[in-house]
């Protein structure tokens, strides 16, 4: 299968090729946008993301095989225009409480009440944190990007990603009323960036 950068390289000669990138990643971008701002907004964000990407395809750095960080970055910028809708989406998550969570997650909680409390704390924390921290956090958690990917998406150094994520997670834990661990531990994911400080 051709890599994303192959597709983008070919699309500079033959624009129609760019539709392959859409077919490959549109649903991924939609999922990210729908989680942040609801399904209706996500339809528009998905479409606009690829229009912007198409126009800027000359800017894509071809040595990066995976175009997802770049697309997530565009979608994240577009989502800024929908901050109010995003805030409303979070209110919705908080309002639906435990129902907003996967069944497995609720099972893992000591009780449904714990789940309600946790989700409320989470929603409040995310709504209150600075947009730049929220972007980094949600790209990392929902975009399934590593530090390097988040750095590419937001066009910031890895060190900045690290500090924004630390701050965002401190906010989450503070809101949840739990003590802040002194050291960061990554859960369930190999973080290549951490091996090259």
């Amino acid at each position: 299968m051709s890599s994303d950068s192959d597709i983008i390289r070919r699309s500079r000669e033959n624009p129609a090729t760019f539709s392959e990138l859409y077919d490959r990643h549109a649903a991924t971008i939609h999922r990210y946008a729908a989680r942040r701002a609801g399904a209706t907004t996500a339809d528009d964000i998905m479409s606009e993301t690829f229009l912007v990407a198409f126009e800027r395809r000359a800017d894509f750095e071809l040595e990066r095989d995976d175009a997802r960080p770049w697309l997530y970055g565009i979608a994240t910028t577009l989502l800024r225009k929908h901050a109010r809708l995003e805030a409303r989406a979070w209110k919705g998550i908080v309002a639906s409480g435990a129902a907003a969570l996967d069944h497995d997650a609720i099972e893992a909680m000591a009780s449904r009440v714990d789940a309600e409390v946790a989700i409320r704390a989470l929603g409040t924390a995310i709504r209150r944190m600075p947009a730049r921290d929220r972007d980094a956090l949600l790209l990392y958690a929902w975009g399934d990007l590593d530090y390097e990917g988040v750095a590419q998406a937001l066009d910031i150094p890895i060190g900045t990603v690290r500090s924004r994520l630390n701050r965002a997670r401190r906010t989450l834990r503070a809101m949840a009323g739990r003590p802040t661990p002194t050291e960061e531990v990554e859960h369930g994911r190999l973080d290549p960036a951490s091996q090259h400080p």
């Binding site: 729908a34 989680r35 956090l137 990392y140």
Partner: protein, 359 residues
Amino acid sequence: MDDLTLLRSIREPEAPSDDALARGRSALFERMLDRPAPKRSRRGIRVAGVSALGAGALVTALVLTNVVGLAGWRGGAEPAAANVLHSAAIAAIESTDLVVGPGQYLQVETSAVYSATSSSDSGTASYLFRVDDELYVPADRNDDWVWVRHPAKTYQTFGPDSEAAAESVTHVHPGDKDELLQAPAGAFYGGEAGASYGDLDSLPRDPVQLLNYIYKVNVGAGNSPDGQALVFIAERLRTGSVPADLRAAFYEAAALIPGVTVTEGRATLDGRTGVAIGRDEGSIDRQEIIIDPVTGQYVGERRVTLTAINEIPAGTVVSWSAVVTTVADSAPSGGTVNGVFDVMGCISDGKGGAQCPTD
């Protein structure tokens, strides 16, 4: 539970709807064509394809100009078909037309299959026959055109009656020799000069105007205005000499025809493959064009019968044509305006008919 795990446990939203995906893809193709994306369609005002019944008056009322007409406000092709057509249009626009230098010819090789029905004492029977030909169009279209027509061959039969009918009929001209024609401006057999080539330069390049023009010149023809529009497009494309910008406009016009769908994702025609785009005409038949969405090349066209014709079952491809266009430095020499009729010693009556000697 850790905060990240909790965040990741928030339920995944539903996947985007097919409609949203198709709209996004269409918007992308529109952008590739450097045109503003169409506004999101309002629900409930979309008018389906114009039915054959009562369409005449509507068409007459609407086709007064190319600008205000039937095209563009009744929806269009299914999203998948529209995508293929948009993609092919973009590729066509970016392709370069063949350059026919002075003294050179555009060589159009066509392979075509048609159905024929013959009546005899034992009843009516249908079969398919194939004809191959090469047409040499000179750089200056007023110069002599050359047309080499190979003998027709039986292509497909459907049972003994069909076989007998195919054997009893000799198509196009007797014998098994090639027919060679030569005529200034392509006026073969005393016909119209350069028929279906003459207006290639003047047809509108704007898809909506082009489609309205097509509706206008086809009023009353075919099974339905929309079906006939696709037939018209197929007939023009099969000439093999449509310039790239017009080819792109034809593809875009087809994308505006309601009821046009992808009928076969990977269709093979005479050894070449493409995507078949067509429109069902009720239970009568379906005209298809076969195009390559990546190169924008026109592969050919075919017609599928949706009803049985004598022994030919419904669903059979009853005619097709595939065309390949190249540039030739020379054309075969010889040949006459009336080809085989001249060979046979026929004398034209000047009204399109001829008196031929009998043995």
